[in-house]
Point group: C2
Chain length 552, copies 2
C-alpha cells in the first residue's frame, strides 16, 4: 500500500503572515487557515497580499473542508478574497474565530459560512481527515491548535500560541488533551517558531493588570491605550481596571468597534450599561473619568490614533495631563511610523509610554524558546516543521530540535509551495509548487478590517467582481486571459466575453507603458478603473471591483 | 549694554542626524559640526540630506571658525558639500576627528584644512569666542564636548557621549575639566538626549571583550563581525581577542578600510606585520585562522556584508561552521533590511548572533538617563537645550530636568532653524529661520563615505561644480536663479552666464513635466546630466557635478 499525506504551505513559512496550509490525502484536500499578508514600509504602496492559490484552482482534487486556527487577519483575512474563487466546502472554527470570520464575510453574498465548533466537541470528520480543536493561549480568544488524523498518519498543526498558565480570561491551554492526542502518536508537529529569538518563557498576560492600575490611578487626565483590536483579553483587563477606578470606556476606531461588538455578542466582553460611552457623548464627562481604547498601535497613517494625534478627531484633544500607552510592540518595518506618531504625541506635552521606555504594558502572544520546547515535549512528534516565522526563526527552531536530540533531517525548513510527503513513517520533500506574490488592491481606512464596513454598502447594492490577472512585471503586459469572478451582481453576463473585453480595454492602456513595473498600486488602480467603466457601460451597474494581480 | 549670544541649530534637533549649530555674537558666527542626514527606508530614493545653510549664505556676519565634536558622518559628513559654499575660516577638531575629516576633504581642492587640537591644549580664540575641547567617551575615538566662552555667557556644547568609566581604549571622560569649566559658570547646556528612553547607565565597552573571546573560542569556522566602521575601540577589542586566539584579521569594505587606515596612521590601531591579511591572500589560511570585520551592519544593500551574504564576494563563502555577529543595533527604519540579511545568512546554516537573540556584542555609544543626569549635575547649567534627539527624546529630557528641580521654561525644545537668545542671564526664543530639506545626490557604494574614494579620481582630474537650485515641489519649476560654485576646475567661466545657460537648459526639461515631484532622485539626475552636458559643450571639461536641491 503506497498511501501518503502531503503537506503544502501556500503561505506562512518564511515570512510570518498570509498563513494557508494544505493537507492532502488521496484526492482530498484539507485547508488550514486562509490569511492575508501585510506589507512592510519597504513595499511601496502595497498593503496586502494573498497566498497563491493557483494550485487549488487547477487541481482535480476535492476540498473536503477548511479549519481556522484563530481570528487574526493573517489567518482569516484572506477569506473574502479567496472563498469566491473556490467551490463550496464546510468551514469550522472555534466560537470567537467563527464569529469574527462570519462578520468579515457578511455582505459578500457567499454561500459559505464558518461553522462554530466548541472545544469540548469530539472529532470532526472532513472526508478521510478527522480533526480536533485544542484550546491554547494566544493574543486573541479561542485560539486553537488542530490535531489532524489521517489513515496514513497524524499531524499536530500548532500554529500561533503561547503557554500562559495565568491567562487573563482564565482559559488555559488544554495540556491534557494534547497529551491524550500525543498518545495516539504524532508523525509531524507543525509549530509556531516566531518566539525563538527569546530565551525562557514569555510573560503572562496577568502581570499587566497591576501596571495598568498604577498608571491609571496616577493619571489626572484622559487615559488612552492603543493595542491590537482583537486582543480581547487585553481590552478586558483595561476595562476591569477602569471599572475599579471609576472611568468610562470609549472605543475609537471602526475595526476595534467591530471586534468588540462580536466579543460582546458572544459574551466575551462584559460591559454594563453606562460603562461604555460613545465618542459623541464624551463631553458629558471630565477627562479623568474616561479611558479611551484607540486603534492604530502600529502607527498606521489613517488610523484612529493618528487622527487623534494630528487633531483630526474633533472630539478628542490631547492634553498635558493625559497619558497615552502603546500596549503593543512594533511589527518590524513599522518603527518609523510608530516613532513619528510618538514624537507628535510628545510634542503635545502628553505622557507617552512605549517600548523601549517601558516593557510594563505588553507581553507577546507568542511563546518563547521554552514554551516551543514544551510543545515538542508534549507532542513527541517524529518530524518537525517550523511555520509562522521568518527563516531566521525557523533555523533557530531547528537548532532547538537538535538540542533535544532530533536529527537535522527530522526538521524540514521549507518555503511556501514546497510539499512534504509523509509515507510509511518517512517524510521527504515533494513537488515545489508556484508561490508567487499575489497583491490585492490597496485598501485605505483605519485598519485592515475596516474596508469591509466601508465597502459593504456598495456590496449589498451591487455585489463584487473579482478581476484576476497575471502581469509580466518586466513589460507590464497581461499574460494569458483574465479571469472574472462575479458574486452578488444581478446581471446576466458571459464571463468569457466580459473577460475578453476587459483584456482588450486593459491591454490598450498597459501596452503603452514602458519598462519594469515598480508601482503596482498604479497598475491595480488602472485595472479597477477600466473594469468599472466597462461594467457600467455594458451592464449599467457599479459593483465593487477587486483587482487581484499575480506578478510574474 | 544690550549684548546677546544667539544659538541656532541648522540641523540636529528633532531628527537626530545632520548636526550643525551656530553660535552668534555681534557680527561673528561660530559653527559647531557640519553633518550629513541619513534617510530612512521610507524616504524613497533619497539617501542623504544636508543642513539648510541658506541663512549663512545670506548673512553679513563673519564666520570666525568651526569646531567639530567627533568623526561620525552626522557631524562631519557635510563638509565636502558645505565648505565650498562658504568663505574660508579656521576649523578645529581633536586628533582622530581632524584626521578623518581631512581624509574626507582630500581631492576636493578646498583651501580649508581641519586643524588638530590636542585635549591638553588651552583655549582656542576664534573671534570673541574662546573654545575648549573636553574629552568624553562615545563610539568613535577622541570625541569632544566643547566649552564656549563669550563676553555674554558660557555654553557647554555636550553633543553625543556616554560616561564609560572603563572604556576599551582607557581614555576616560575628563570629569575634572568639566567641573573646572562649570565653576566659571555655564549659562546653557546643549546636551545629547538620544539615550533618554533607557533608565540607568549604558553598559561599558569593556564588558564585550569576554563575550567575543568565548564566542570566538568556540567557533570552528570563520569568525565574522560587522559593526560601525568608525568604532575603533570595538575594532581594537576584536583584534585583541583574535590575537589571543591566533586568528588573522581581514577588513572588508572600503569605508572600513579607510577608517582603519586613518586609525593606523595616527597610532590608534596597532596591527603587527602579518596580523592583517588582505582579502586576496585569505586562501593561504584555514577558516578557523581568520577573523573578518565586514562593513554593512545596517543591512545596506550595496554593503560588503550584503555582497558576502549574497555570494557576490567570490573570496568569502559562508559555511555552517562560521559565526556571524552583528555588533550593532538597528537604526530605526533599517529593521527590514537587516532582518532580511539575517534571514539570508540563516539560510546558509551559519550561526548568526544579533539583537534580540543576544545583547552580548553591542553597547550603545550614547549615555542613558543616569549619564545624562550626571552631565547636568557636573555642569550645573542655568538653562538646558536637548540636541541630537527626536522630539520624544527631547520631551523625556525635559521631564528629567524638571525632576532635578528645573522649571519647565528653563528647558528649550526647539526645531531646526529656531534661534534662542541669551541676554542678561535670560534666555528667550528669537527668530525662526528657514530649515528646509536639502537633499544631496544619491550616492551608491557600500557605505556613505565610499563615494569620496570613487569620485576622487574624477575630482583630481577635473574638480567639482556644485549646482544649487531651489525647486518648487508642486510644479517642478526652478525658483529664482541657479547658483554655481566651481572648485578645482581649470576653466575661465562667468558664473552668472553659466548659471543662466543651465537655468535655460533645465527649465526646458523640467517645465515639461506635470504634477507634484515625488522622485527627487530623478530630478537630481536630470540636473546632473544637463549640467554635465552644458559644461562639456562650453568648456570641454568633465568635472564632477554635485546637484544640491532645496525643496520649496
Amino acid at each position: 500500500m503506497d498511501e501518503f499525506v502531503s503537506f503544502i504551505p501556500l503561505g506562512g513559512v518564511g515570512d510570518v503572515t498570509k498563513n494557508m496550509y494544505l493537507y492532502e490525502y488521496k484526492d482530498q484536500v484539507l485547508i488550514v487557515d486562509c490569511g492575508l499578508g501585510f506589507a512592510d514600509e519597504t513595499m511601496l504602496g502595497v498593503d496586502l497580499f494573498l497566498p497563491d492559490i493557483s494550485y487549488l484552482l487547477k487541481t482535480n482534487k476535492k476540498i473536503v473542508g477548511m479549519v481556522l486556527t484563530h481570528g487574526h487577519e493573517d489567518h482569516i483575512g484572506g477569506l473574502p478574497f479567496i472563498l469566491p474563487q473556490l467551490p463550496n466546502f464546510p468551514i469550522f472554527a472555534s466560537p470567537f474565530t467563527s464569529a469574527l470570520a462570519n462578520e468579515k464575510l457578511k455582505g459578500f453574498n457567499l454561500p459559505n459560512k464558518v461553522n462554530m465548533v466548541g472545544f469540548e466537541e469530539g472529532e470532526k470528520q472532513l472526508g478521510d481527515f478527522s480533526v480536533s480543536f485544542i484550546r491554547v493561549t494566544h493574543s486573541v480568544p479561542d485560539t486553537s491548535h488542530i490535531f489532524i488524523k489521517t489513515p496514513v498518519g497524524n499531524f499536530y498543526h500548532g500554529s500561533d500560541f503561547k503557554f500562559d498558565d495565568t491567562p487573563a480570561d482564565g482559559k488555559k491551554s488544554d495540556y491534557e488533551k494534547i497529551k491524550k492526542l500525543a498518545d495516539i502518536g504524532i508523525d509531524c508537529l507543525m509549530s509556531d517558531c516566531l518566539g525563538m529569538e527569546k530565551k525562557g518563557r514569555t510573560g503572562s498576560e496577568m502581570q499587566l493588570a497591576n501596571n495598568f492600575f498604577e498608571e491609571m490611578k496616577n493619571c489626572r487626565g484622559k487615559f488612552i491605550v492603543t493595542t491590537y483590536s482583537s486582543h480581547v483579553a487585553r481590552l478586558n483587563q483595561i476595562i476591569e481596571v477602569s471599572r475599579k477606578l471609576g472611568r468610562k470606556i470609549c472605543f475609537v476606531g471602526r475595526s476595534l468597534m467591530k471586534v468588540t461588538d462580536v466579543a460582546k455578542k458572544i459574551g466575551y466582553m462584559k460591559l454594563e450599561s453606562g460603562e461604555e460611552v460613545l465618542l459623541e457623548d464624551i463631553k458629558r464627562y471630565r477627562d479623568n473619568q474616561l479611558t479611551f481604547i484607540i486603534a492604530g498601535s502600529q502607527g498606521q497613517e489613517e488610523s484612529a490614533l493618528s487622527r487623534v494625534t494630528n487633531g483630526e478627531q474633533r472630539e478628542i484633544n490631547l492634553r498635558e495631563e493625559d497619558t497615552v500607552i502603546f500596549s503593543s510592540d512594533p511589527i518590524p518595518g513599522n518603527e518609523v511610523s510608530i516613532y513619528e506618531l510618538i514624537d507628535t504625541i510628545s510634542e503635545r506635552g502628553t505622557r507617552v509610554l512605549y517600548s523601549p521606555v517601558t516593557k510594563n504594558f505588553h507581553v507577546s502572544g507568542h511563546g518563547s524558546e521554552e514554551e516551543l520546547q514544551q510543545l515538542i515535549s508534549l507532542t513527541k512528534p517524529k518530524k518537525l516543521i517550523p511555520i509562522g516565522g521568518a527563516l531566521r526563526h525557523m533555523y533557530l527552531y531547528r537548532g532547538l530540535a537538535e538540542k533535544l536530540g532530533y536529527k537535522r533531517n527530522d526538521v524540514f525548513i521549507i518555503e511556501d509551495g514546497q510539499e512534504v510527503l509523509f509515507r510509511n513513517n518517512q517524510a521527504k520533500l515533494g513537488r515545489s509548487l508556484q508561490a508567487k506574490n499575489v497583491y490585492v488592491d490597496k485598501i485605505s481606512g483605519e485598519e485592515i478590517e475596516s474596508f469591509v464596513l466601508r465597502d459593504r454598502q456598495k456590496l449589498s447594492q451591487s455585489g463584487v467582481v473579482i478581476v484576476l490577472s497575471e502581469i509580466d512585471s518586466s513589460t507590464g503586459k497581461i499574460i494569458g486571459k483574465l479571469d472574472i469572478i462575479v458574486k452578488g451582481v444581478s446581471l446576466s453576463y458571459d464571463s468569457k466575453k466580459l473577460g475578453a473585453k476587459l483584456f482588450h480595454d486593459l491591454n490598450k492602456i498597459l501596452s503603452g507603458r514602458k519598462g519594469r513595473i515598480t508601482n503596482w498600486v498604479h497598475i491595480r488602480n488602472i485595472i479597477s478603473q477600466v473594469s468599472e467603466r466597462r461594467i457600467f457601460k455594458d451592464f449599467h451597474v457599479r459593483p465593487l471591483v477587486l483587482p487581484v494581480v499575480i506578478e510574474m
